[in-house]
Subunit: 192 residues, 2 copies
DNA sequence: GGGAGATCCTAGCACCGCTAGACAATCGAG
DNA sequence: CTCGATTGTCTAGCGGTGCTAGGATCTCCC
């Protein structure tokens, strides 16, 4: 049995290598540069090996997205846990969110811009995605305001952050006034 | 001279045909389906003809984006002009924006999602883009609130709308609660 | 009418995602 | 220990992509 176990371990290790390499390449040169040929060359295997782990490029993007979702949730919880008071927590959350998007553009794209073949806002949505949304909601629920559904409020706040993140990243918004935008957004949306 | 003028007119006409066909194809089957070969076949010319009008596919996307920006500005101004009071105008504006995005997904992508090679938020930004932003600002300035820069406020509000539009379109948000989201957003962001 | 120039198309490049089929390494049964 | 079966991997290739070089044709002007 031990031999099979070792093989399985090696296989899992190689899968991690694929995802990590895809992510690295995407961060370095953008997702367009992540071709199956280049990816195969970097992991020092032939192309078909990729397809023994994933159905195709889309699933690789999905794997990077899931990894990113987990990290993002951790980053957001870390940021909010060291802030005092609901409003400060929301500000810290917003900053952490936008910071993550700016520092990991390729991962952010995999999560929210590209098609990774993942289900969103459904029962069969993968756990990491649900958890990232949950991390948002934990902090945002405190400032949703009376009579406002926390889920709805989280969606709206999230959409605003997402808009800021993507428009900034594609050059539609200049990054200079990022901080006042955050202040204004939190100031208006957060209720009490 | 008349012959040359006719030729120029025909050339301009063909250019319009290219842009219109690209847009139509993108709306029907998505931008991935807009290949230079398919596009060339639809306009009944060979591929190289496209390159005598545009540098490449990117510029064709850019042309569709500019066309869309003009239409979007018209749609937003039409929606706001028939509303009474600043708050009603803002609601109408938000609805018009999201409605345009939902009805013209390919055009919206060309504008804000894809790379059309256009400059944004700069001096050499094409006029239609500036004007679309101006259309937003006209209505939003009224509700920016005291001491808040109208430009900054417009950026934040626009980002929120953009987030709602894109997350909804890619299935990250369910379209069911679109209206309450708009209400909540306007309610919180619009000041007086 | 004939040469010059504009106009357009055929053919092809390098690359893409993805896969069939050959080959080699490894395993388990006798 | 040997030998067939299974597993794993690679080479080669398919149909597609954006884009372009070079030749053919057509039109205009002298």
């Amino acid at each position: 049995m031990s031999v099979q176990e070792r093989k399985q371990r090696e296989r899992a290790e190689r899968e991690r290598l694929i995802v990590a390499t895809a992510r690295e390449l995407a961060e370095q040169q953008g997702w367009d540069a992540v071709t199956t040929r280049r990816l195969a060359e970097r992991i020092e295997y032939s192309q078909p090996v990729l397809y023994s782990h994933f159905r195709g490029k889309r699933e690789i993007i999905g794997a990077v997205a899931l990894e990113g979702a987990t990290e993002m949730a951790v980053a957001m919880r870390a940021a909010t846990s060291s802030a005092n008071g609901p409003r400060e927590r929301v500000t810290a959350l917003a900053r952490a969110y936008l910071d993550f998007a700016a520092r990991n553009p390729a991962v952010y794209d995999a999560l929210f811009q590209l098609d990774g073949g993942l289900a969103y806002a459904q029962e069969d949505t993968p756990e990491p995605l649900k958890d990232a949304f949950a991390a948002l909601m934990e902090t945002l629920s405190e400032v949703a305001g009376d009579g406002v559904d926390p889920g709805l409020f989280t969606e709206v706040f999230w959409a605003s952050l997402h808009g800021l993140a993507t428009l900034t990243r594609t050059g539609r918004l200049l990054p200079e006034h990022a901080e006042p935008r955050i202040q204004l957004l939190v100031d208006r949306l957060a209720k009490p």
